[in-house]
Symmetry: C2
Subunit: 128 residues, 2 copies
């Protein structure tokens, strides 16, 4: 099976996160997208999402690094659901690296310009 | 928080499953919805979904019973993501009852008639 375009979009967003490139990262999202910051707390719309990523980058000492793998893409009703595995790592307060694994759930729709953009970014998957 | 309308829709669909009411069950889905039958196998569109449920009902000896709880609803970009817990039980080949638990992921959109309908029904959640 050919690699789905949403996987390219996710990989570009991960690269944007890893170099703290907010402009590139924001192009990943639809204008009225929602980001799950943590269970029970969401950022609504690009402005809040950009603020949330600013705080996330700060929280992880500007050292956050993410990568994703094992993508499953399911299309239906004009949207695409993506389930995958996410590895996060960052510099701890001392010199050690901290890391964690998650199973995110993303929802995408193809924009007017032909690019798939994220409607809901839920890195917590079913652990809400 | 008021109960979200998508939860009412899910509960009505569960009741339809439990009484094997295919017409009521099909009203839960958008015309071009996708149902994950099992990891790696999907039904696309209402006709395939109805066929799949016919086979599922048969597989469970017309005794399948489902109920769901612990709903989390996240809206973004005009769609709603639902994460919850699902209990399934059915009559086994002998007289015993078999049961299982899942953490599904659903995607909904509000239809033109004002009713929320399911675009992607993935009862396997992140376990694809």
């Amino acid at each position: 099976m050919d690699k789905h375009e949403v996987i390219d979009a996710i990989e570009l967003a991960d690269q944007a996160i890893n170099r703290r490139d907010m402009a590139a990262l924001m192009d990943f999202y639809e204008e009225d997208a929602t980001l799950v910051i943590e269970p029970g707390r969401c950022a609504y719309g690009k402005e809040q999402i950009a603020q949330a990523f600013g705080a996330i980058f700060e929280y992880f000492n500007q050292s956050l690094s993410v990568s994703q793998r094992d993508f499953h893409v399911i299309e239906g009703g004009g949207v695409a659901l993506v389930v995958c595995k996410l590895s996060l790592s960052a510099q701890g307060m001392d010199t050690s690296r901290v890391s964690m694994e998650r199973k995110p759930t993303y929802i995408f729709r193809k924009s007017m310009d032909g690019k798939w953009r994220c409607l809901i970014d839920n890195s917590y998957g079913v652990d809400l």
